[in-house]
Symmetry: C2
Subunit: 384 residues, 2 copies
């Protein structure tokens, strides 16, 4: 070991950058986006030969702010701060970590952006985009940063769909893929839950058919949708562990319709949080992209979909994840094995189910770190 | 077999009756209900000695109309028609089947009833009632019908909570209990889902703090709540079987935010159905009662809770029921066995999960019929 890593810690102050792409981006729908911006953050330093880059694909309600703080006053660091930093799972002493807002989300071009044709926000006139489109936009970003081949693409859930799509769409540009909590397609049950969320956002009179920019916007509808989603990402066991049947303030049952249980107070806080985490229209577009993800449907069969993959692939699933259960993840793993592509599938325990990868990094790191270390040598890293 | 059963079929025309109880009903909250009505239906004939009565306890959004039609023009029969009738699981050639609206629900006294103290609907001034209170009110109904001991109490989910509570609160009045899809307590995850539904009903401006009688009422909020509940009662597998990823009209993906998938059209129909199935306030009270159900919490331990039970008990659970999983049902079964009380636990397969007992009667009947037949002889039935 000649490398002197800093002690595990946070990345230094970060900032979000935006890159403009003037060329048209053809979309899966047959439409094209004439020009677009992609917002992104990076952590660590790119090796001179560009070989140490790791792309993190964010999950549905997260964004490009994956690690660190923009200012020392920020209450919270980025959403995967526990996983990204010097000595952490994605070690910024070794890797150059990139996280970009997906197309239609966050600071990237999407429904809140100005439509050059009208000078007004796109709203719901923004074209419906797919995971493939998002990956193609990221590919151009990566290319523009001087990277021809990523050491790894890493993502969970919606981010995992992007990670496997990267290995399918751009096989020469991905050395390793870490695909967490992802199935070959999105189940009708998840479509149903997203449909409920859509219904709640649209039922808010302030939604105004998506043309709410400049007005108050569907704050209440978004709050309702985010509340309705809680039992989707926080599992039954996790709620049992976190709240049990405790009453608010330990006061016992008061026999009232007002909130009685701690879990109710938790949901009330989510419904009424001041800062909406995401633009409601963007959430509608991102859910749609997740719903459209269907490898067998898109490519004819799972075998045909995964045929181009050359990346070493690590699938991670959670035994308690009832939305993206291990057996569905395993279907992809088995196909890659049959096709002679290196693949590993780790089934982890977590009371959090689908949310495990965000909040329980040490368990995940035990799988991801050796997998990334055993990947092809990282140019510029003398220890490898 | 000297009994000549009619061919399996529907019960003849039924009607809902209401019985008034002038005496006060003490409630678990410490309050009391001064007088109240219980609405109920019956199917079959009560034996002269009153020994062939089976009480069906309805689940959350159902009611006393369990079987048959009120008029030949009714589009749908009662909610458990497949299970109740001549030759059916609860054979009305043998049994006198009773189903009553729970206190606070349907035609029984509840938030929509007139408060004698004010001459106006109770609304949310109606006292919060528990499963115990509902069972006590049913007990008085059963007693008033001349029945001192029920041949059986049968119920699923919310109805299962009532069935086991019957065996606890009134052990001398229950010979057999069939407890389906029920756990010793209601999990915080179910509280969370109900909390979402509460939030949606209350967010509707027409809810007016529950004082909406005479106005339009929170029709949209109730629709949203019922939609949000769908992924709760229809399992992931059931949705996969029923809808797969089929698009509306088989038209393929249109890349739009408007409904694309059949499962979305199904949810839209639920959101916009014309006849609200239940009074929104009643739903709030019934959900609360289900949430309060907590045998270990109420009695100190599950052992203490079940100690009074003398009824032969059949527990039924569904392997795919993630809300009330078999292992939680089994905890009650094991305690009864240790206490020397006859108990049986059947774990059934059903793609429907929690809803299995309503829609897949034949599988259920294979367990329930022999269990009821093997119970104590039914007076007046020469075949037993």
């Amino acid at each position: 070991m000649t490398r002197t890593a800093s002690a595990p810690g946070a990345v230094p102050a970060v900032r979000r950058r935006t890159r403009h792409f003037p060329g048209p981006l053809p979309l899966a729908s047959g439409l094209e986006l004439r020009a677009y911006d992609i917002a992104y953050e990076t952590y660590g330093r790119l090796a001179p030969d560009g070989g140490n880059a790791v792309l993190v694909c964010h999950s549905l309600t997260k964004g490009s702010h994956a690690a660190g703080r923009h200012t020392p006053l920020d209450a919270q660091p980025g959403w995967w701060d526990a996983a990204i930093g010097p000595g952490r799972m994605l070690d910024t002493d070794r890797y150059f970590v990139i996280c970009a807002d997906v197309l239609a989300g966050g600071g990237s071009t999407g429904p809140a952006s100005t439509d050059p044709a009208t000078g007004r926000p796109y709203g719901t006139t923004f074209p419906v985009v797919t995971i493939e489109d998002m990956v193609d936009a990221q590919y151009r970003l990566v290319e523009s940063l001087g990277i021809t081949r990523l050491h790894a693409v890493v993502g969970g859930c919606f981010g995992g769909q992007q990670a496997i799509q990267w290995a399918i769409s751009h096989p020469d540009a991905v050395r390793n893929a870490v695909v967490i909590g992802t199935a070959p397609d999105t189940s009708p049950h998840t479509v149903a839950i997203f449909s409920v969320m859509r219904h709640l956002i649209r039922s808010d009179p302030h939604y105004a058919d998506g043309d709410y920019y400049g007005g108050p916007g569907p704050v209440q509808g978004l709050g309702s949708a985010l509340v309705a989603a809680v039992p989707l990402w926080m599992s039954r066991d996790a709620m049992r562990q976190r709240f049990a049947r405790r009453t608010i303030g330990g006061l016992g049952l008061r026999h009232t319709l007002r909130p009685e249980f701690e879990v109710e107070a938790f949901l009330d806080r989510i419904a009424h949080q001041q800062q909406p985490a995401i633009d409601p229209n963007a959430l509608l577009y991102l859910m749609r992209a997740e719903e459209y993800f269907d490898l067998p449907g898109r490519y004819g069969s799972l075998e045909a979909a995964l045929e181009p993959v050359t990346a070493r692939t690590l699938f991670v699933s959670y035994a308690s994840d009832w939305r993206y259960p291990p057996e569905e993840t395993d279907a992809m793993h088995q196909v890659l094995l049959r096709q002679g592509t290196y693949s590993r599938h780790a089934v982890l325990d977590s009371a959090l189910g689908h949310g495990g990868f965000i909040y329980e990094v040490p368990t995940l790191a035990r799988e991801v770190q050796p997998f990334l270390d055993a990947g092809a040598p990282i140019p510029g890293d003398e220890t490898s």
